[in-house]
Amino acid sequence: MRLGRFLCSCLLLTSTPLVQAGEWSGYVALEGRAFTQEALFPEQNYRVNLSLSAQPEYFHKWDNGKQSFTFVPFVRYDQHDSRRSHADIRELTWLKAGKDYEWRLGVRKLFWGVTEAQHLVDIINQTDLIENLDGEEKLGQPMANLALIRDWGTLDLFVLPGFRDRTFPGAKGRLRSAIPVATDRAQFESSQGRNHVDLAARWSRTLGDFDFGVAHFSGTSREPRLVLALDGGGNPVLIPYYDLINQTSLDLQATKGSWLWKLEAISRAGQPGGRYTAMTGGFEYTVVGVLDTQTDVGLLAEYLFDDRGQAATTPYDDDVFVGMRLSFNDAQSSEALVGAIVDRQTYAKALSIEASRRFGQQWKLSLEARFFSHIPEKDQTLFGVRSDDYIQLEMARHF
């Protein structure tokens, strides 16, 4: 309801004369997912799922480009999972750029980090997990952000009011945990619940071949612990519990010729088991124009570590990622990324294929496929998806 009123006032705002010179862009996409195996749970009695999504974008700048307004709503309708039918404001931001500072107020999405296999350091925005298991889709985060751009680098300061709950698939959704997550029963360590104001700061700098960022976040964890409970009918459910945490992080990339060396590391305190450390590190090596073609091949390898071991809340405690990126450099911008993550102790494997190609000037076809094998029962995050191997095609119309 509040969202609806907000959207209405935004649409009104965009039609006022002040911002009339703005422009609309965006996309509408139809997604089809085919699961290669029968579902594990009776509620998920389907092999094919269709879904329609749209993300229009309004942008207006004035003051010689020093000020701008951006509005990006997102909406999805899903055939089977009513929870995946959802809407969000990805961005609703006013920006003012000065000579050595930038102010941003509103709802925004941003990204920190360098690695490919997982994004440990990227903490500001909540994951829209129901969108994609890879965690790369994010919910808009309300914030006030001041960036100081100086000789010694850029210092970003954030005040983050308004917590966003992580999204999870409903009982009918595939790619869910074995026990469904009761998102409406979320609990918070902070007595203020979702109204707790989080704080963050990041210093980033480029020095020659090195790009790095050091950040600290203090507030409600974006990653909930999932606590077993019973619903009204006596069935087991998982309740998300959001701790108050302090997380310090480093992200670093060294660009040495055709080699990119990458490292992300975090140290987090505030969750049961005490302070822990996790890291992802590796390289991407690119060969331009292989075998006298226009195709570039990137070879990727990363190691994923979490010192909580098997008690980690992510599946990546001692895992190796290897991947290959193909950029065909053709008129259709065809590209593909194939990757596999293997747990060195349990041999749990996840294989991922992502590819895309443009048709004409405005259509884009994307392929995504994920396959899971040897997922152990104690792997809370992936055990429920062990029979949810899928191949997905998405056709998007950009405008």
Partner: protein, 261 residues
């Protein structure tokens, strides 16, 4: 006696222009330096670029990019390219710090993920946006990026031209050599032939419709690249050139990469 003096005097007058003992290498370098010198001082500029890709069957696809450039006195120039079309890459921005020596620095902003990626820029032989232009063909053409040799004088399309050969310094260039035609009147590049690593003719680039800005700086309105080995071609059309619009270093940072549209 008088005649001899006149001859000597006129020879002396020629000396600053073309040294008598000049080797072809020195003369080639001098021509490149003169072309560079004549383009000094433009400051900063913006323009719109339309790129038309055509394959062997004659099918076309287009890209539009808005460019911002900043002249850097002691090093290579800085550039920001904003992609407007095709619609699926709209909002993508590329930031380049070119260097006189060593590989350029390059960052790419991917709007879907809000992610800034530093990309490997040492090997620039790869295609730019699927076109027949390699990154090294359209990046800032610094004198130090090549060694030179003067070949001959030749008339091209009715214009007296120097023909020089240049050899990329970078180990990862896609070319063994390039042959460049510059008109003697204004030292503008009229044509470039690109020879691949096996020294066979790969591409020809022709420059058309030079326009003079700020009463000094020549810019082409079209650049046409033809690939002789694949039959594909790319036409770049430049428009809306503006100079000294007030761009500074702060418009070419990773922060500006995230906000410029």
């Amino acid at each position: 006696m008088m005649k001899k003096c006149v001859l000597l005097l006129s020879l002396c007058a020629l000396v600053p222009l073309v040294s008598l003992a000049e080797t072809p290498e020195e003369k080639g370098l001098a021509i490149a330096q003169e072309a560079d010198r004549r383009d000094l001082g433009w400051g900063d500029s913006t323009n719109d670029m339309l790129m038309i890709l055509r394959n062997k069957q004659g099918e076309e696809s287009t890209r539009t990019i808005r460019n911002q450039s900043l002249e850097v006195q002691s090093d290579g120039d800085k550039g920001l390219g904003l992609f407007d079309d095709p619609a699926d890459v709209k909002g993508t921005v590329q930031l380049t710090y070119s260097h006189k020596q060593g590989p350029d620095d390059q960052w790419l902003y991917l709007p879907a993920l809000k992610r800034v990626k530093r990309i490997a820029a040492e090997d620039k032989s790869g295609s730019f946006m699927g076109s027949e232009f390699a990154y090294e063909d359209i990046s800032s053409q610094e004198v130090e990026k090549y060694t030179y040799k003067y070949l001959r004088d030749e008339v091209l399309n009715g214009q007296d031209c120097f023909v020089i050969e240049r050899y990329p310094v970078a180990e990862y260039s896609g070319y063994k050599r390039q042959v460049v035609w510059l008109d003697k009147a204004e030292y503008r590049v009229q044509k470039t032939e690109y020879y691949d690593r096996k020294d066979s003719l790969l591409k020809t680039l022709t420059f058309r419709g030079y326009v003079k800005y700020l009463d000094k700086y020549w810019r082409p309105t079209e650049m046409f690249m033809e690939n002789h080995q694949t039959g594909k071609s790319t036409l770049l059309k430049w428009s809306n050139y503006k100079f000294r619009v007030g761009l500074t270093d702060t418009d070419f940072t990773q922060e500006s990469l995230k906000r410029t549209r």
